[in-house]
Structure formats: C-alpha cells, structure tokens
Amino acid sequence: MKFDTPAGLNPIDKGRVVGKAHDRIDGAAKVTGTAPYAYERHDAAPNAAYGWMVGSGIAKGRIAAMDLRAAEAAPGVLGIVTHANAGKLGKGSMNTAPLLGGPQIDHYDQAVALVIADSFENARDAAKLVRIDYTSEGGKFDLAAERPNAVKPPEGGFGGSPDTAVGDFDGAFAKAAVKVDQNYSTPDHSHAMLEPHASTAAWNGDKLTLWTSNQMIAWTVGDVAKTLGIPKANVRLVSPYIGGGFGAKLFLRADALLAALGARQVGRPVKVALARHQIPNNTTHRPATIQRIRIGADKDGVIDAIGHEVWSGDLPGGGPETAAQQTRLLYRGANRMTAHRLATLNLPEGNAMRAPGEAVGLLALEVAMDELAEACGVDPVELRIRNDVQYDPEAGTQRPFSSRKLVECMRAGAERFGWNKRQAKPGQVRDGRWMVGMGVASAFRNNLVGKSGARIGVDAKGQVIVETDMTDIGTGSYTIIAQTAAEMMGVPLEAVTVRLGDSRFPVSAGSGGQWGANSSTAGVYAAAMALRAKLAEKAGYSVDQAEFEEGLIRHENKSQTLAALAGREGVWAEDSIEFGDLDKRYAQATFGAHFCEVGVDMDTAEVRIRRMGGAFAAGRILNPKSARSQVIGAMTMGAGSALMEALDVDTRFGFFVNHDMAEYLVPVHADIPEQDVLFIEELDDKSSPMKAKGVGELGICGAGAAVANAIYNATGIRIRDYPLTIDKLLKAQVA
C-alpha cells in the first residue's frame, strides 16, 4: 500500500481497541521470566558451547603477535576464533570499525578473539590465557583538542546536510537587541540497557540461525551476510525479546558475528554475551559534543537570528552527532544557520543512542532559550510560545508542519505542573536545606517513517495471527500491533496472536529513531486491508461496504464469521506500507513540553529531582499505557544525562574508563519520584493511516534541559558542561 495522500476516515478511527490503554500482551511472559532472550535458547539450541570475547588492550595499533597455546590447552577449550583463522570477512554496511579486529586495531576492546569452551567458566578463564603483544600507535582521543581539526562531514545520512543557512545570520545576530552566545558540552553516553549484547548461533550446513538481541532484523541479516560473505537467504535471525536497546542493538555487533564464527569453527551451537565491562568500549556509544549556540532576538524575545554549531568526533569513516537538527525546525527566525563538524577520534565507535541528535542538541538549545528568556525578562514558557512557527522555518510557508502542537503542550503542561508558582528570579525558594527551582524545556523529535511489511491471517478458530520482523525492545510493539489487528479485523485483543522478530517474516521498519510504532502498525494496517478484501471477496460482499466486528464480516443484514470463512486452510494476506513524499511536503515532528522541579542542597549541592511532568503531542497515541511508560522512561534517561551520565575518557590510553555499571551511573529508583504525563489529543493524517507518530524518543528530548534550567532557577548557577555534578556546582558556587 502506498501512502502518498493524507489519510481519510479509516477503520482505525473507530478507536474500539486502538487508542485505549491496554496491558501488554507479552506481560505474563515477562513477569514470570518465561520470555526467552537470546542467550537463553536451551530449547532451540541445546548443548550450545560458550564463547568469551577477548577485547583489545590498546586503542590503536597492531597486533604484533598472538600466542594461543596456553588458552588452547586450557580445560574444556573447543576452539579460538581470531582474525588469522576466521577467513576473509567483509564489513557490515552499518559498521564503522570491523567487528573482529586484527592485525589492525581500531579501538579499545575491539574484539580480537573468541574463546569457545564447554562451560562458561572454562571459556572465561581460558580467555585470560590468550597472550597478545601489541604495537601501539597512539591516537586522537580528546574532542576539545581535536576541535580545530574537525571537518565538514559528507552529505547524507540520517541528519541530512551537515550545514544549513537561511537569510543573513551574521548580520541579523550582530544587530539583535538581545543576544545569547554560549558554548555547551555533552559527554559520551552509554546505552546501558540491562541485557548485554547476546547471541546464540547454530549452523545447519551452510545455513546460519542467530538467536540474537537486535532491533533491526533486516539490516542485520544483510550485514551478517555481507560480513561472512554468504547469501542473505542463508541467514535467519530470531529476536523475539530484546532486553533493551536504545540504539545499541541497531546493528550487527561482535556478539553475533563471533557466535557465528565460533559455531562454524567448533561445529556446534555457540552462544556469546558481552561481559558488562566490555560493552562501553566494544560497542557503540552516543558521541560527546561541543556546541555553540547564538540567538538574537528583539527585546520581547522574538527570535530573528538563530545559529547552532556542533563539534563531535568519531573513528575514520564514522559520522557526526547531528545535534543541531532540532534547531532547523523548532523556532522562528528569518536568519538561521546550523553546522556540524566532525573530528577524527580513535575512541570506540560513536553511533545512535535514543534520539540521536536531539537528545543532546536540546540539552544545549533549551538552556540557551532559558538564558534568552532571562535576558529578555520573558517567562520561559511564554518565550517558547512567542517563537512558535507552524512551518519549516528553513523552507518557508510552503512546507507546513503536518501537525504541531507545541503551544498547546506548553500551555497545558504549565497549568498542570503549577508553573505559575515559579519565581522568575533564581534562588528565591527554600524548603529546609533545599533550594527549590523549576525549569521548562521544549520537547522536539523528528517523525521518521519507513517502509514496513506484515503478514496477517485468520484461522478456523477465528484467531488472527500477525507476523512481521518488527521488534519489541520494551516499546510495546506486540501490544500495539495486536491492537491494530484487532481493530482492523473486528476481533477482541485476545483473539490476536503476534509473532515478531524473525527474519522469516515480512520486513518491517524495525525499532529505531521512534519510527517503529507508527510505521509497523501502518504495515499491519496495509496487510489487514488486504486480508479484509480477501475475506470480503470470499464472503461475496463488497469490501467497501462490509463491516468487520465481533468476529464477523457483516454486510447489510447478512454476516459470516471470520472463522468459517478462514476454513481449515486459513486465509492470509501480506502487504507493506510504503511512504510517498508527504514527509517532504510536510515537516513532520513530535512536540512536547517538559517541566521539572528540583531541590539543590544549600551546602553540598546535591541535586534531587522532586517531580517531573510534561505534555506531549505525537499523533494518535496507540496505547496510552505503554506510550506513557516510554515517555517516563525517556524522561528518566534525560534526567540521567543532566545529572550523572558520562563516559570518562582517558586521553592517554584512549578508552572509556568507567566501563561498568558501578562506575557509569544511570538513575535508580531513588532518583525518580513523581512523573506526570499528559498526551495532547492529535491525529496526524499525513504521517500514516494510523495518524500516529513516534513517541519513544520524544520523552528524552529536552528532559535534561528542564532539569538544568530548574537547577539554575533554584540556585542561580548555570553550568553548561554536562552532567551537572556536585563538583561543578560547588566550583561555581565558590566562584
């Protein structure tokens, strides 16, 4: 099905199942521990041997010599995979550095070997016996030092052009009555999902099955085939449950490749999970940024010039962190510029983490807006309302937003949060030892869409079955797909079975960039329309006039059950949604307003979030229950980025030092009290037949800035170097 004109009234609009809060249909499996994750497939791959990855001990250089003798002789060892015996490997199109290093080493903890043994304990132990001599070549590890050497990256990629310019930014900024010109920095972040990267591999002849933890089945099938040099048809991926991803599992990574190589070498299934302490340096991370923001406004805060420059680094061949993305679309201003510059760094591979671009771009932009509000003496909520723009401000009025409810979010969110109790002047509110403040920030995340397919059938019992390679990484895909199928076929939710995450199923959009929910349910919609047509034809009814409800297909006063029509064979249909140019003709994005109240200890500068709240507009909310969870979870990750999350770079050795969960801190229960979420009613008919948009990343976008602005309001201290830790706050307090 081609989606190239705005959606009219369609079966989803009935809203019988879609749009209602439902418990997750995979809930019972998850709360009882019976949902099988990738390393737990005793059922599918019994007798799997255990692989333990050996990571490089240097950041850049070469392996001079490897001595495997002691490891090979260790108890239970079945084999060792290295570059020397793995055969010729390609490199996945989504990978920057090879997943199996050697002799060249591209980053610290790049995989250099897999030790396979009959037990986990034997594999882990033998891995320590692999002796490697390196020739280190040093490298570049310090973004601030490399900033002058950063270059304009190539065109293309998810962020679009590296640079944009409209009007006369320099001239307008120079003339502006009120100016903000500040630098901000954000550190490298780690996804830190709870399930490590893990895979179980088994070969049957030349056919490979990988039970793995992966967000993007089709991408990864392609990259497995490319890396191993085998046909895609010989690769099957199975990924029904994924213990969190946040972008870390978008791609083929070392666990899956090494499991496949190991299983081939030892002639038996092999499973590999990365050890927690290997993950930050072996896998991808969100790159650090340095950002400069300049905003020129009139005395009422109306923006005339806005500029956002971003510096980040990556391995050769890598890409920039597109942190200026939102600045192209969020606020008005006739004179604009954005620029991304990319430095070469020999740190581990930088790549997507939840809301790449916006998550850290808004940490800077929304603090700059707070600074502008203060400079103009305008309330920060009002400032954002004044600078709302209903069209793409770079393209002009001919490219309107498909729907944009930032102002509604700001107003409703402010009222619900009690924003009117905020004191504009910082440092005015005390509660015992706590200095109390409130902050606000806009939420913005692009709405991406992607082709997505599904197969849907009905069986003789009237059960509807949906199959798609879409994944559920905690996002609630199982449930919203079931809701979509139930709505379309006129059956209760319980009558729908959803099967996900298998490359034997039709290719979906997958989970990433908050495109999954809208695109994959639209794919199910398309397949269901095809199934409706087949069933109507079988029933002898006109599909345009047939109603699907209560397990029946009805036409005028006649009806037949779906079960009867399905018969013993069942009836199946397959289709996909393909998106036309509506996302070119219309700017499509999701919006929101974040509010936060913090307490800052007057002596020690400990920060405690007291409450967070927000209002969000993201098209049709398919399942308000799981959507709310997505939003609060993302708000928490945003709070983490404001207060504690940072991979610390050792610029001598070139690695992330705090590479475990004791040292890389993420928020715990005690950090997160009350969170309130309001969804603003919105249907976006230009986004998809579902009239939905993504919501999984919107919640992180701006959340951290609201925390930072609340700290400023509480204390009068403005820190522009994230995270806002005690050491920085104390230093500023003294100064």
Binding site: E121, R124, D603, T604, E606, D648, L730
Partner: protein
Amino acid sequence: MKPFTYSRATSAQEAATMAASTQGARFIAGGTNLLDLMKLQIETPTHLIDVNPLKLDQIEKTADGGLRIGALVRNTDLAADKVVRHDYGVLSRALLSGASGQLRNKATTAGNLLQRTRCPYFYDTRMPCNKRKPGSGCGALQGMSRNLAILGVSDACIAQHPSDMAVAMRLLDATVDTVGADGAARSIPIADFHLLPGDTPHVETVLKAGEIITSVTLPKPIGGTHVYRKVRDRSSYAFALVSVAAVFGKNDASRFAFGGIGAKPWRTADADAAAGSGAKAVAEAALAGARTTHHNEFKKKLVEQTLTSLYRQKEARA
C-alpha cells in the same frame, strides 16, 4: 576466575592454620567483593575456605558494656540490630547508606572491612596499577581520578577505601578481633588495621598470613547525636564522593570520621579537637596534608560543605 579448590571451615583456628599453610588460599564469607574481583582475575585464589559454617553471626554485649559483632554478621542484620540502632546509630546509618539491599543481605562485617578499592585502573587488568600488580605504575595519578582519595595517598597509589561501615567503625574506635595461624588471638584497634599505600599499596591491612577476623568489638556507647552523611552522584546505590560520620556530644566533645577521601577510613585527633570551632575548622584539620588532583580537588570543598550541613542540622536540633 581461575580454578580453585573449595572447602568449608570447621573452626576459626583450623581455618587460619589451613589458610596459612595453603598456597593461594583465601577466606570467603559473603563473597560480594571477592567474587567480583575473582571474575576479573584481580583476585586469583587457588583455594577458597568458606567460613560461613563458623556461625560467627552473633551480636552480644561485652563485659564492659560494649558490643561484640561476629565477623559473619550480615550488614542488614547489623544495621537492624536493636542495640546498634539505639546506641551506635552512626553504624546503622553508615551501613544502610552502602550498596543495595541485596548486597547488604550477603555482605559481612569482616568482609566489609576488607573491601578493596573501586579505582577504575585497579579494575581494568590491562591498565597499570601498583595495588593489583606491584611495580606496574599508577594509572590513576595522571588519569581519571575524580572518585579517588586525597588523604593518605602516595606516589604509588591514590585509591580510595570504599567502605561506609568502616568509617563508622573508625569513628566508634572499634577493635578487630582475630585468630592467627598459631591459634593466638589478638585485638587490633581499627585505626591500626588498615595500612596506607606508601610504596606497597598491595598490602592493605596488618593481617598476617592465615589470620582470620572473628569479630569486631565496639567500646561502650558514647551517647551523643549520631549522624552519617553520604554525598554521592546519585541518590542511592553509589559509592561516596565524600561521607562524614559524626557523633555530636556535649560540650563540643564531638568526633568525626570520613569516607570517600582517604586511602583508609579517615579520622584525625585534630579534627575532633576542632569540633568547637565549627565546620570550617574541622574540615581544615581533617584535610591536613591532603593531596589532590585536578579531578578530585573538589572533595576538599565538599568535606567542608558536608560538615557545614551537619553543623547546620545540629544547630537546628538544639
């Protein structure tokens, strides 16, 4: 984790004798730190003596009104003990600020005293670390040292002692009771129990080969107001940047001990003596000889600010 043999202890002395005579033997109690380190081969015992069967899990009053705490008393039980809650509140508070409920249910009193540093260069076996591999150098001194020690450090090592419990024990003048391989019992004042790194950061306590901790004894209660304030980067389940254990008594008879800043649990007579002069004076006295890096210099200010907060609360109570 290197292969090891495993046995269960039947008596403290037998365990000590066995440990002294068996190359590479270590005691295991809660295991929450030892197994963590063994998995990374930072600790590589070849024989583990499980001391859990020793039932050293009693808490009992001593003849002189103090409290004897069995070496195997779990952190949870020690914190929840009625006498400890009432008479040694700072110890309960310190324990409860450490780790997580799950870890406190397993971690023992003796094991907590023997907890090793959280320095990230100690934890990554490919990095230089004099504590882990004597003579290999210190990765932290010129590296990322934000969480590391500023007191009692040396050119060889700036690792911090991570314990909260031990800080309270230091404040309360506990003694560590042991049995040696020769069967001799001794009591070691906690001030002398931990060693400063000097040139030998791998030697962390005065325990001799095989010597086993059987209990920790607290002197009779000192009264006063007990507080433990731990400042960290998140609200719970994190190691201290700075922690202060304090007992505020009458007539400025107060005492202070510090965590997160020392190579061992830190306490100085000068800081106690300065109690009457306020937070700044106590901080100055406690921090005498502090040696900071660019990354952890803030801890000096944070010590002062944490004390300021405690004094403020004390005055509010008065």
